[in-house]
């Protein structure tokens, strides 16, 4: 579904080299990762990312260090082979819904406080940037566990990405669809989504009336309601309205843990 973006291969090689340095260490156990400036496209917009240097030893002592450097890049990544990620690296990718960008910002703000560690990172994409999100996921080093969380229209986008990843033989570690919305669902589609993630958790918001503002919008957009039942590994009803992304992430699963804790787990 997603076309590869210009510069994506270079970016992947740079990240791979960064991981090689970070995991092998350098003089006195300190690993220095230098990334040169590059241009990327996210959510349909071109962005200039400045060069920066990251020191792993200092990061462990001081939280992190991300000192900008204009000195350029000291490595030549073009000839490097693919580098595998550390076995416990987790990337949580959030995909927000249509009303999230300028209105509720439930997902966007939630992600800001989503904990990041030296082994867990996070990324956010909008519901209409499936290509960007999928390209990002495919660019991760082999072995990276991808947990994809989508809300509303973003849930539909996340499911499409999962289906693509499954078809490519690279299923996600976890797919979480929070009250997904979208048309064009079918048994065949849900089966492909099921194959696209080792674990698929679907939340159906059942709180409030159908005329409640967010429920009304979800209904007009094509709420999935009970359609994923039988395909998702875990299908839970949560008595919240459609907008309450954060509360639905706190919903308790059969193992007694919340969805949020499951996405955070090492």
């Amino acid at each position: 579904m997603a076309g590869r973006q210009p510069g994506r291969d270079d970016y992947t090689r740079w990240v791979g080299e960064g991981w090689r340095q970070a995991t092998q260490g350098g003089e006195n156990g300190t690993a220095i990762v230098q990334v040169r400036a590059y241009t990327r496209t996210r959510n349909g917009r071109r962005e200039q990312v400045d060069s920066y240097t990251q020191t792993r030893k200092a990061a462990l002592q001081d939280g992190y260090v991300a000192a900008p450097s204009r000195a350029g890049m000291s490595m030549n990544p073009a000839d490097l082979p693919p580098i595998a990620a550390p076995p416990d690296r987790v990337v949580v990718v959030f995909i927000s819904g249509a009303a999230d960008v300028k209105k509720s910002r439930r997902v966007a703000e939630y992600v800001q406080d989503f904990p990041v560690t030296d082994w867990r990172s996070r990324e956010t994409f909008t519901w209409d940037d499936a290509a960007g999100a999928e390209a990002f996921i495919r660019s991760q080093p082999p072995g990276t566990r991808i947990r994809l969380v989508g809300h509303s229209y973003g849930g539909d986008t996340a499911a499409q990405i999962a289906a693509d990843m499954g078809a490519a033989g690279s299923p996600l570690d976890m797919l979480v669809t929070i009250d997904p919305v979208g048309h064009g669902t079918s048994a065949n589609f849900f089966e492909r989504v099921h194959q696209g993630a080792r674990r698929w958790i679907n939340v159906n918001a059942t709180g409030g009336s159908s005329s409640e503002r967010s429920n009304l919008i979800a209904g007009l957009g094509g709420s999935w309601d009970y359609a994923p039942m039988g395909y998702a590994d875990e299908f839970i009803n949560v008595p919240e309205t459609h907008i309450e992304f954060g509360r639905m992430m706190e919903a308790e699963l059969a193992n007694g843990r919340s969805i949020r804790l499951e996405t955070l787990a090492r």
Binding site: R42, N43, R45, E47, Q48, V49, D50, S51, Y52, D62, G63, Y64, V65, A66, A67, P68, F94, S96, A99, D100, V101, K102, K103, S104, R105, R106, A108, E109, Y110, V111, Q112, D113, P115, T117, D118, E123, T124, F125, T126, D129, G132, E212, R213, S214, I217, T241, H242, I243, E244, G246, R247, E250, L264
Partner: protein
């Protein structure tokens, strides 16, 4: 030839219609949306170590901002169906909407986000107290929604910090408060009390990651 009544011309009519429409939309949005939080006040600034709960797993001590407002923000969130967040940016930045610092979730005294909102109480003066935690060194980060987070370290970047309450609903109704300024003197004092080293100021940085 000059017109005696230029406001009767078609372009002028179009301008008036546009103004009326704009005012109408604003009024409707205000009517349907929640009122902005205008009375927030900074009560205290401190450095906290080993913070548990929602903001746990942060590798460094955090800057805790204690705020109070006459609004019950849990009811605000639940009854209005409107999100409420706090964004922080250096007051001297030229594009505050695009240069944000970490942290946005307001926590109750029980350290739970207001959107979970199990309980809340006001003090004798009718004010509700909330906490906001900020990373002391924050990493440059770009969110998919266009926000650009800047490299910032309170130990080295000595600008005042401005907080803004904002949020909205899914269809109509957004709110956006004025800025609430936190003097850097308060932050420096909190850092000193916590024994965190103070560095010489540096020029603002805006690099991405």
């Amino acid at each position: 030839m000059t017109l005696k009544r230029p406001w009767t011309t078609l372009p002028w009519l179009a301008v008036r219609l546009a103004i009326v429409s704009l005012l109408g939309c604003t009024a409707i949005s205000d009517l349907l949306g929640p009122p902005p939080v205008r009375d927030a006040r900074v009560e205290a600034v401190s450095v906290e170590r080993n913070v548990s709960g929602w903001v746990s797993e942060r590798p460094m001590p955090l800057l805790r901002i204690v705020l109070s407002t006459g609004h019950d923000l849990i009811s605000y969130d639940r009854d209005h169906g409107s999100s409420i967040h706090v964004s922080a940016h250096p007051c001297d930045t030229t594009t505050p909407d695009l240069q944000r610092l970490s942290g946005s979730t307001l926590l109750t005294r029980d350290a739970e986000p207001v959107w979970i909102g199990r309980s809340t109480t006001s003090d004798a003066a009718g004010r509700y107290v909330y906490h906001l935690y900020l990373d002391i060194p924050s990493r440059a980060y770009r969110s998919g929604n266009g926000d650009v987070f800047i490299d910032h370290d309170y130990r080295r970047d000595h600008s005042d910090i401005c907080l803004t309450f904002s949020g909205g609903q899914m269809l109509v109704g957004t709110h956006h408060s004025r800025d609430f300024r936190i003097s850097y003197a308060l932050i420096a004092d909190a850092l000193a009390r916590a024994g965190l080293p103070h560095a010489a100021p540096r020029a603002p940085l805006t690099s991405g990651s």
